[in-house]
């Protein structure tokens, strides 16, 4: 069995190099909770490169514009249609932000207007390793303490053959999980557990 590799997608528009310590926290959790063998370093792969097709899981995030060039668009579509899994996380945690608007437009152009859909909170994703009865866990960035918390209580996905191929979050998990791994021990509950679910779903569905 090939060890699991955390692949980050590099794209030419916007900014792809966000939350640099997030992957190491997720990999740490995979080692802690599962028996999945892992590569300890994340791998950055250009979306223009066909190297992407060697890996079943990839991550894409940013704050800014997402506008794929022809090669990027072609690779994204091929990867998704051929069984790849992309976890896309909006660093603005804002459904009106530039990343959200432009990424959703890209998905509309590639997969059609109705492809990206909200998934129900009882989806298999929420039971693929740990159980999340109430759907996606809330991040601290959504709870602003003023009582007008903008919590996105759903995730969206594009499903291919009944399986999530593009998982899309406006919750900014990347930022939530981006900390020195030594500080994990101070959390009341390890907040990367949902990340384990995402990876386990991607590897087993």
């Amino acid at each position: 069995m090939q060890p699991f590799t955390f692949v980050r997608l590099q794209y030419r528009s916007g900014n792809w190099d966000t939350d640099p310590r997030m992957p190491s926290n997720l990999l740490h959790s995979l080692i802690q909770y599962t028996t999945v063998p892992v590569n300890e370093q994340e791998k950055v792969i250009s979306l223009e490169s066909s190297e992407l097709f060697n890996y079943p899981f990839s991550y894409m995030s940013g704050h800014k514009l997402v506008q794929f060039n022809q090669k990027e668009r072609q690779n994204f579509e091929t990867y998704v249609r051929n069984g790849g899994f992309v976890f896309v996380d909006d660093c603005n945690h804002d459904i009106d932000g530039l990343f959200a608007k432009s990424f959703e437009e890209q998905m509309r152009q590639i997969f059609g207007a109705s492809a990206l859909k909200k998934i129900p909170n009882n989806h298999k994703l929420y039971r693929s390793f740990f159980t999340f009865d109430e759907g996606p866990p809330t991040t601290s960035f959504e709870l602003n303490g003023w009582g007008d918390d903008l919590v996105h209580d759903y995730l969206k996905a594009i499903e291919v053959n009944g399986r999530i191929a593009v998982l899309y979050s406006n919750k900014d998990y990347g930022c939530e999980w981006d900390y020195d791994f030594r500080n994990k021990r101070w959390l009341a509950e390890d907040n990367t557990k949902f990340g384990v679910n995402i990876i386990m779903y991607a590897l087993t569905s």
């Binding site: 704050h63 660093c91 603005n92 601290s140 960035f141 709870l143 602003n144 303490g145 003023w146 930022c175 981006d178 900390y179 020195d180 030594r182 500080n183 101070w186 959390l187 009341a188």
Partner: protein
């Protein structure tokens, strides 16, 4: 009347104790005189003075205890308050955590009383406010400030032979300044035992500078940032941490120092090894009483030594119950720092945020010591070693334990809220949303 000398206090306490028929009796006498001045919109709005002395008696019969208080000191009144505490004691249920009163104790000497502060008069207060207001009007700003000062004494005596007396003085000053258009705000706070160290004009210039340069703040995206926390920004979080180092809370599983199975984290490395924290009532900058409220001697105690938890405080009951050394809670916090100035810290920052003050702090999770609150009164973006522009205020979600693990640099400790705290540079401080408040 308000400030009694050691001999005067002793005479009243002895007389009152003479009326006691209880098994155990402890009497505490507290007095203060003080004054204050308040100003807003660059005009003084309130000025006042106050003085009070009060006496509290705790009488005990076996494990039953009752407390009564009074502020009249003629013989009849003293007898009356003793009798009342005895009546209450007889009616009270037995305390399951009864511990006998302390006998005679040895106390170190601490110098916390300064004539300079005791002599503050209304003219001094008016002048202090005028200097602060001038710092505002010179820059076309609006100041709202408060200065208060106290001369205190506390004396305690019981029928087991304990006697303690401690005089002290204290002055506290704070001012907020706003620009006329209301888009800029600055703040400064200082407190001293010796008022000759306070220059309200000079202090106010800091607030004025912050206000004048914080107009038209830009919005930055919330997230994890390197922050430089001035002592006024970190003090509340740190006090919440150090005043939560109770042994019982830790051993009963209610604190950030709890370990499973009724153990605490004493002896474990909790934070960065550059963090050493102690309390010392004899420290000349932050002098405090050499005894705790229950009469236990206060001396230098190291709470965290090079990042490792060394001591927890306890009640006398918990200490005897657990066979632990009896340690009273700290009366001040002294955190060792480094030699860097705030300017040095800014210079060495590639990208970060300078925080003047955190306020409205509320507890989110006591077991991880997670707090939330807001920045206020001067928040600035730093890039390439320079303050670039003011930024909108943020809400934060952070634990002081995590904060002290993410330490980058320490500055020179400054007195604040009766403690000594260095400015700190911390990486990955979590700002979770923006606030429209100025």
């Amino acid at each position: 009347m308000a400030i009694l000398s050691k001999e005067e206090a002793q005479a009243i306490l002895k007389k009152a104790l003479g009326f006691s028929k209880a098994d155990e009796c402890e009497i505490t006498l507290n007095g203060n005189t003080g004054g204050n001045i308040r100003y807003a919109r660059n005009e003084v709005s309130t000025s006042g003075a106050e003085e009070n002395v009060s006496l509290a008696v705790e009488s005990r019969f076996g494990k039953r205890s009752g407390v009564a208080t009074i502020n009249e000191f003629d013989d009849k009144s003293l007898e009356k308050v003793i009798r009342r505490s005895e009546e209450i004691a007889r009616l009270a249920p037995e305390s399951p955590e009864y511990v006998e009163l302390l006998g005679p104790q040895e106390y170190i000497t601490t110098k916390a009383h300064f004539d300079s502060t005791a002599k503050i008069d209304p003219a001094f207060r008016a002048d202090a406010a005028a200097k602060s207001i001038k710092a505002a009007t010179d820059k076309g700003l609006t100041a709202a400030g408060f200065l208060e000062h106290y001369t205190n004494f506390t004396a305690k005596m019981n029928n087991k032979g304990l006697f303690a007396y401690h005089p002290s003085t204290y002055v506290d000053f704070s001012v907020t300044m706003r620009t006329e258009d209301g888009t800029g705000s600055g703040y400064v706070t200082q407190d001293f035992s010796d008022v000759s160290k306070l220059d309200t004009g000079k202090a106010s210039e800091i607030a004025a500078q912050k206000a004048a340069t914080s107009r038209n703040a830009k919005a930055l995206e919330p997230g994890k940032y390197t922050v430089i926390l001035e002592p006024a920004a970190s003090i509340d979080l740190l006090q919440n941490m150090f005043y939560n180092m109770d042994q019982r809370n830790a051993e009963e599983g209610r604190s950030f120092l709890s370990k499973p199975g009724g153990k605490s984290k004493v002896g474990e490395k909790l934070v960065d090894e550059r963090i050493t924290v102690y309390s010392d009532p004899a420290h000349p900058e932050v002098p405090e009483a050499p005894f705790a409220g229950d009469g236990r001697p206060q001396k230098k105690v190291t709470w965290i030594d090079k990042g490792v938890v060394k001591n927890l405080y306890n009640t006398r009951y918990w200490a005897s119950n657990k066979g632990a050394v009896s340690v009273p809670p700290p009366s001040n916090i002294i955190m060792e720092g480094g030699n860097q100035s705030l300017e040095d810290m800014i210079k060495s920052t590639k990208r970060g945020i300078l925080v003047t003050r955190l306020w409205y702090i509320r507890s989110v999770d006591p077991q991880t010591l997670l707090y939330t609150g807001l920045t206020r009164d001067g928040t600035f973006y730093i890039e390439n070693g320079k303050i670039q522009y003011p930024v909108k205020n943020f809400r934060f979600n952070e634990s002081p334990v995590i904060m002290l693990n993410n330490l980058e640099a320490l500055g020179k400790p400054q007195r604040i809220n009766g403690s000594l705290i260095p400015p700190m540079k911390i990486r990955d401080f979590t700002f979770t949303s923006l606030s429209d408040a100025v």
